[in-house]
């Protein structure tokens, strides 16, 4: 369990880090909770690691003009314990609480998790339901992408060599929005077999906003647009929820592994979507 040799750099500033990454051979070390186990198993053998831990500007959480900006190096514990997030974006704080275990949450970061793009990671369900954006920076340029466009496929993101994910941007939650994250846990690893995040708002007795993000089910986390459309404008009755939940996995190719077959995952996606919608609607009305 000894990784291959590598060169190690620990820059003090973002500029230094971007210069080190510009060559394209270096891999970013954030919390290391996914990368270090991969290196120990020699499934990954980067030549050069750039450790971001000293760049203090990448750890901040702040709110301005209706948005919350989360530094990519903020840990899951930082998110779970942040009064700002708990009050202003509770769905994301809730997602952070479900990740791994205490020790993993103390080191693992939101930017690292998203960049690793594990198809069963917890964050994307909530972040997709929130309409999150991510900021990618390279020496001399930056761009902002919708999370949907960043998460390309299993373990694959839209970040190009030399580009660094620096910030995750989510909207401040409007009052009376009901949110819930429901997760079917694989008990040994803590990963989601199925994870569903729901956000709903009602006005005049009708659902005025419905967002559903799913993780663990397919090669990449996704938003269930058909189910959202079914709920929009409805009263959110038990029958509405049942019919909407039935749509979350109807058109997808589900993952299969030793823990759950594809058809079981699709079935559980519907069950957990219904639970998340019931819980979110109970908060919204």
């Amino acid at each position: 369990m000894i990784p291959q040799s590598f060169e190690y750099s620990v820059p003090n500033t973002l500029q230094e880090a971007l210069q080190l990454l510009a060559g394209g051979n270096a891999k970013v070390l954030a919390g290391g909770m996914s990368l270090v186990p991969l290196m120990k198993l020699r499934l990954a053998a980067p030549e050069h690691l750039v450790d971001l831990r000293r760049i203090t500007g990448l750890k901040t959480l702040s709110e301005s003009s209706g948005e919350i900006r989360i530094g990519a190096m903020a840990t899951h514990h930082d998110l779970d314990s942040s009064p700002l997030l708990r009050q202003r974006c509770p769905l994301l704080a809730e997602a952070a609480k479900h990740i791994g275990d205490v020790q993993v949450r103390n080191l693992g970061t939101i930017g690292g998790s998203l960049s690793h793009a594990d198809p069963a990671a917890d964050y994307p369900a909530s972040l997709l339901a929130l309409g999150a954006k991510v900021k990618l920076v390279r020496a001399g340029a930056e761009r902002t992408l919708n999370l949907e466009d960043f998460l390309v496929d299993t373990f694959t993101t839209a970040a190009e060599p030399g580009e660094l994910l620096t910030e995750i941007i989510v909207p401040v939650e409007e009052p009376k929005t009901g949110v819930s994250y429901q997760k079917m846990v694989q008990p040994a690893s803590g990963f989601a077999i199925v994870g569903v995040a729901a956000r709903v708002r009602k006005s005049n007795g009708q659902i005025s906003l419905a967002r559903l993000g799913l993780t663990g089910v397919a090669p990449s986390p996704f938003r269930a647009a058909a189910a959202e459309a079914r709920l929009q404008g409805s009263a959110g009755s038990a029958e509405d929820i049942r019919q909407a939940a039935a749509l979350v996995s109807s058109n997808i190719e589900a993952n299969a592994d030793i823990h759950a077959s594809a058809s079981y995952r699709k079935q559980m996606a519907q069950v957990y979507a219904a639970r998340a919608l019931h819980a979110a609607l109970a908060e919204a009305s």
Binding site: M1, I2, P3, Q4, S5, F6, E7, Y8, V10, L29, G32, M33, V36, P37, K40, L41, L49, D51, R53, H77, G100, D101, V102, Q103, V104, N106, L107, A188, S189, G190
Partner: protein
């Protein structure tokens, strides 16, 4: 290429030259000579290697020693102060919170984190707080009892 790291371990500062790929647990056990923290699963699941890094419980098998340059570490050996056991160590002894003892050093460091964040935890909070540590002997009940006893003692 080896790098120089400077670390404060259990209150004592030291400087060592290490290869970047040296894992923190191997540094602690083989270089520093602190063998209290154990290597269990080596895959970040069992928690036997748990140590405190700048006040936070971490799994030392899933970090490189170079990542703790400039940091403070606390291992099970550092919990004794002035020849007296930490209340958690006493409670694990009194409540039979261990049988073989392999998980105990990591378990106690994780429990210390738990009591710092939640001084009077419920049973559910205790079980949630030690979710990153496996014990194959006790069935956890005696560990839960030990944490409750330590919590009561530390609250006095």
């Amino acid at each position: 290429m080896k790098r120089l790291i400077s670390v404060t371990i259990n209150g004592k500062q030291r400087t060592d030259e290490v290869e970047p790929r040296l894992l923190l647990i191997h540094y602690l056990r083989d270089v520093v000579g602190l063998t209290g923290s154990h290597i269990g699963c080596e895959t970040s699941l069992c928690g036997a290697c748990t140590v405190e890094l700048d006040g936070k419980a971490v799994k030392s098998c899933t970090m490189f020693a170079v990542q703790v340059d400039g940091c403070r570490l606390l291992t099970i050996e550092g919990l004794v102060s002035n020849g007296k056991y930490h209340p958690l160590q006493e409670a694990f002894w009194n409540e039979h919170g261990l049988q073989c003892g392999f998980c105990t050093p990591g378990m106690i460091v994780a429990c210390k984190q738990l009591l710092e964040r939640t001084p009077v935890p419920t049973e559910e909070e205790i079980r949630h707080g030690i979710e990153g540590n496996l014990c194959r002997c006790t069935g956890y009940q005696h560990i839960v009892n030990a944490v409750k006893a330590a919590s009561a003692k530390m609250g006095i």
